[in-house]
Amino acid sequence: MKTVSDNELIRKYLNGNEAAFNELLKRYQNKIYWHARRLLGDHYDADEITQQVIIVLYKKLKSFKFNSAFYTWVYKITHNLALNYIRKMKIKSFLSIESDSLKSLRTNEDIVRHTEDKESLERLNKILKTLPVKQREVFLLRRFEGLNYEEISEITGKSIGTLKANYFHALQKITERMKIE
């Protein structure tokens, strides 16, 4: 069966077909969630970002220009929202204004079913947290999302040289950290 392309689905949505939007989301919601989860480290934050991305897509899809691939556009939105979110969280953490109930919700709430999977993700999170956000972002986009430097450059707005250097430093830190573990 022929798969309908992202752009075809967008055009259908722009012509009033709401189901096409749902189909698009079905294709990308997992990717958005898992990218956000690896980047931010827990379900609570990943859920927040995933919902924000869906809201932005819902509001902005009408202005999609078809100049870039839809998936890079989605990652770009996720990237921007996640970075803003991290900045906000840093301020909150600095000012210690996160409530205890929210902290507890952050720790306990999860959609991953198996304990060993949760532990794996926790290990990954510990390793990735040793990286600055910029290096973590490039590493995840290249390693886990399988994007090339040109695509990552389009998403992050950074030059390819900078991205290569970021990735190199991320690899250095990660392989060292893995050696200790």
Binding site: Q29, R38, I55, Y58, I111, D117, L121, M178
Partner: protein, 202 residues
């Protein structure tokens, strides 16, 4: 450049195509380099397995779109509330102001003090003005227990109105006075009658 750095540069795509080709050649011939390279690859593969997508509660992804749409709806409601709140407050303020001022200048004269104030400030209906003029011109206020102190040209002395003689006077003169009612219409007549009823004269 040590061996590890060379491996990481190769994996990062930092080597030029000739450098990458030379590295691959070296990798085939250098056992130590190959061991470090394999260890590095192994660690990264291990990391991949830690972070790959795990089985999750499927309901989460089924519900996420409706939840996001609900969020949009809530945000729009809040926005609408914020947008309309000043208009609602303004409308409320206007209504209350109108009520206040209409009470102050109400020509329907609901209480004795309303009538006194209305006369004092000249806010009378045409019928009321006609009535007062008519009775002043014809000196009818001097009838019975009523005298000219009833109306001194500025204020209505309403206390004198609520006497049996005054009631008798109004019943006879106003209800049966064709001259007066020839110059006022039905609406004005009803207003006048209501005002007098409120004064308990009817």
């Amino acid at each position: 450049m040590n061996k590890k750095e060379k491996i990481l540069k190769y994996l990062s795509g930092m080597l030029t195509p000739p450098q990458a080709k030379a590295f691959e050649e070296e990798l085939r011939n250098d056992d130590e380099l190959r061991t470090i390279f394999n260890e590095t690859k192994h660690r990264l593969n291990l990391l991949d397995s830690l972070g790959d997508e795990k089985p999750v509660d499927e309901l989460y992804f089924t519900n996420i779109v409706p939840r996001a749409k609900q969020k949009i709806q809530n945000a729009e409601n809040k926005k609408r509330e914020r947008l309309f709140a000043p208009a609602v407050y303004l409308a409320l303020f206007t209504i209350l102001s109108l009520l206040f001022f209409s009470r102050l200048f109400d020509s329907s004269l609901q209480t004795k003090s309303d009538i006194e104030r209305a006369i004092k400030y000249g806010n009378l209906t045409p019928a009321q003005s006609e009535m007062i003029d008519y009775y002043l011109e014809n000196n009818l206020f001097a009838f019975g227990s009523l005298d000219s102190t009833f109306y001194d040209g500025n204020a209505f002395n309403v206390t004198n109105l609520n006497t049996p003689a005054a009631i008798d006077f109004y019943e006879n003169k106003i209800l049966n006075d064709n001259d007066l009612f020839n110059i006022i219409d039905d609406n004005e007549y009803n207003l006048l009658l209501n005002d007098l009823k409120k004064l308990k004269l009817f």
